[in-house]
């Protein structure tokens, strides 16, 4: 199924939409600290743009994510989140106690950065999982993922 079915109109629309979706995902991620939003929502927006490119332009669209890349993303997200927690343990704090991260800054600033770090992990993980689920539901014509 995963062959492109886009017409020139769909192709042009998708090309126009995708950068703004990435920008909006980045905005939702970074601004999640001060307003509704955050890693889960940003990840969903990013995954939606990637799936849109897959549907319109086929697997070979250059800015897309391969299935293996999506699996890597899905694993890297929880690893980043847990890694930040482990680093804060190794620096003498509690698990996920961002204030103890070894950064040369004010503790409150470090907490803000730590929150952004874990939200980035959430975004990467959610993006990878959603694209992965799409890929296993819509495999290649010959049955491979």
């Amino acid at each position: 199924m995963r062959s492109k079915f886009g017409s020139p109109v769909l192709d042009a629309s998708a090309r126009l939409l995708a950068p703004f979706m990435w920008l909006f995902a980045a905005y939702v991620l970074v601004h999640g600290h001060d307003s509704p939003g955050g890693g889960f929502q940003a990840g969903v927006i990013l995954a939606a743009s990637i799936i849109m490119l897959r549907l319109v332009r086929g697997e070979a669209s250059p800015p897309g994510l391969t299935s293996r890349g999506a699996l890597t993303f899905a694993c890297a997200g929880p690893l980043l989140y847990g890694g930040i927690g482990i680093v804060s343990v190794l620096s003498g704090g509690n698990f996920l106690d961002y204030g103890e991260l070894p950064l040369p800054m004010d503790p409150v600033q470090i907490r803000v950065l730590g929150t952004l770090g874990i939200e980035t992990g959430v975004m990467i993980g959610v993006t990878g999982v959603l694209v992965l689920i799409f890929d296993v539901l819509a495999p290649w014509d010959d049955g491979t993922v």
Binding site: H33, F40, V112, I118, V126, T144, V145
Partner: protein, 101 residues
């Protein structure tokens, strides 16, 4: 028979639930248990402790970061389960003839 019995049992259960609902604290009641435990601490200290202007973020990502880690793990598990159940091999298995040769 079973259906009629279920209907008869539903009526007292519904009455009990209605009575329990009447005992619930009013929405926004400041004296209800939900607002008297850790919530005042979060409201008073979240900004200077975490630097977040949005207290929801402060609780979700900082005070309750372990919870959010669990949520991400749930999503990760869901993705891996989908891959294991629905996914197929990357490459078709090698033909048997090569084994014999």
């Amino acid at each position: 028979m079973i259906g009629r019995l279920t209907g008869l049992l539903l009526v007292p259960a519904f009455v009990v639930l209605l009575q329990a609902a009447a005992e619930l604290p009013a929405v926004g009641d400041g004296d209800s248990p939900a607002f008297t435990h850790v919530a005042p601490y979060y409201l008073e200290h979240a900004h200077e402790e975490t630097g977040a202007a949005n207290f929801v973020t402060a609780v979700l990502a900082d005070y309750r970061g372990y919870d959010t880690f669990g949520e991400l793990t749930v999503i990760f598990t869901a993705g891996i389960a989908c891959l294991l159940i629905l996914g197929t091999r990357d490459e078709p298995p090698a033909p048997r003839d090569e084994d014999a040769a």
